[in-house]
Amino acid sequence: MGLEEVAPAKINQRREKEMVKTRYWLVAAVAAGLAVAGYAVSSVSAKARATAASRKFTIYLSNNYMGNEWRPQMENVAKVIASSPQYRGKVSLQIRNVQLTPAAQIQSLQSIILQKPSAIMVDAASPTALNPTIEQACHAGILVFTFDQVVTAPCAYKLPENYRAEAEDMANWLGTVLKGKGNILMDTGLPGIAISTTFLNVWKHVLATKYPHIKIVGTFSSQYAPGPELQGVSADLAQNAHISGILSGGYCSSDIEALRRAGRPLVPLTCLDVNGNEQACAKAKLPCFFFGAPAWVSGVAVEHIVNLLEHKVKYPKSEFDYNTNFVTKQGDVRFKHVQKLQVLTPGVNYYPKESAALITPVTFGNWKLTPKEVLNG
């Protein structure tokens, strides 16, 4: 029975045996081929490493996000400082960028630790999630210096933005400018991000306790990007006839644009210290408050790290405090945290002819960086 199937079944067996053999051959071939390629690559990179590894301090900059203008400029400043005459002979800076997830940064840090550098400077994807890895680096005798987004691990040095202080200053400034009354819009930032939570909590607290007659009539999620801020504010404006101020952690330029398009009078604003924001506020002669998140924080970090490595200074491992908030006009406000309140001045803290993406100010300490250096590295 079924005579026609007999022959194919036979052929099937024979072929099957051959195929099993072929599979192992294939596994071996692919593995071997790729391994050869791997050796080639690794020998090249080993050569590159050998030239770099002299007496210099190797500092790794571990960053986790490149999606906005701040991070590239932060890296540029670090590069400029590290390659300045003062540090050129001392420091070899390596930059590693990964995706915006703790997992990616942890993996990258693991591989950095294997290189046994002198120090790692970390702009952290999470204040807590990197802690075990950071501890591990400290154990390996590596100096860990976190900045901007810092970690809570005790063994790491921390140079954070003082968001709590900045948020307090922002709310106080707006409360004062509005004379304690009016309808305002509030930015909820980016869900789940530490800075947004801090801003929101502090703002709400300050307004509730000190300025009870200021009413929050609308919220929007700026996501710290111009697009969502423009959309969010526009939507809120369309629904609210009277707005007397906007408390945002994002973009005044987008707020002004939204107000203009809606045909509304301009109102006092708070936002990031980005050149575009400052240009817009200056042009509109509008009272604005720019909270400082300077990109040169990485330069400060490099300085500190070298000092620490050379045992020139001893820093506490608690948080450093620094701040650069400034406003367009010196208001009649007493700020608890602001160390230096500046008036918006062309060429000093904003640059009318430069890119809107430039993070200002570009100079700090004794370093006189140019906008070009910060923008292009």
Partner: protein
Amino acid sequence: MKQVGSWIRGRLGVASSYALCAVLFVIGAIHSPGFASASNIRQMLVFASFVGFAALGQTLVIIAGGLDLTVPWLMAFGGIELSRLAAGGMPAVPAIALVVAIGAIIGLINGVGVTWLRIAPIVMTLAMGGLVQAFLLAVGELQSTGDQVPAVAVHLASNRVGPFPVVAIVWLGFAVAAGIVLSRSAFGRRLYAVGANDTVAWLSGVNVALIRILTYTISGAMTTFGGVVLAGYVGTTYLDIGGPYLFTSIAAVIIGGASILGGSGSYWGTVAGALTLTVLSSLLPLFQLSNAGLEIVYGVVILIGVWLASTGHRLLGRLWRRGLALPDNMQGGAGDVSA
């Protein structure tokens, strides 16, 4: 009259999407008087059009049984590359044409990878998105960022003709064109055929590979154009500008009644989806929910919208007919593609 009835019946899924959009709008209008103001409607039309541009190609790709995840990066590419070209001295209009053409070529590569190399669309377009992202990072690293968006794009995005925003008019034009192409052209019919069953389509003499590649190419071009307009509207460009449009573009297509498996859907449905999502995201902040609450409500409404467009409208229709004591003989119908 009977014809009108059957015409509507064949499009109940799409109709339900518009109904959902209307319901959300009414809720907004009741809750806050400013919601129904001309300025807010205009605003929402503009926002919806960005989704609409990104979702046009997505609609075609999904009807053909694919998926395009390059959207956010191509949108970013549209704005950044245009600004870069303009900063280099290129006149705006040819620069826009060039950028859109490059977007089309990137889409073309997607299509070639999906059809000829047989890479799953989700992986091909994901990886292609990675390559575009790498290019943008390279541009950012090697050259100055923050170039000005050319005025043409800004005008396109923010000017008005009478009470109507220019973008919305452009969008309407694209919608009409896409509607005609899908329902009245040979390409459209073949597109549905490819999505419904590509083996049958191939054996029926349809150039399956060409159709697929074309959908990705159109998607690449339209998404890039959307990026140009979005950059014009925002007035500046940055890498993450397209981020919100990845899943929004897909959700709009699905809320518009398309099956993610391919073979059905329409651009007018997608338009409804884009409008619904935009009204929803304008509506939610009114209720001053926390970010967490916002996300939960957003997800729930998307599910309701999709349910209405796929199966829910049939159920509601049955209830409605029962209320009017009409005979329940509405089975079958013209189907999605018969002209």
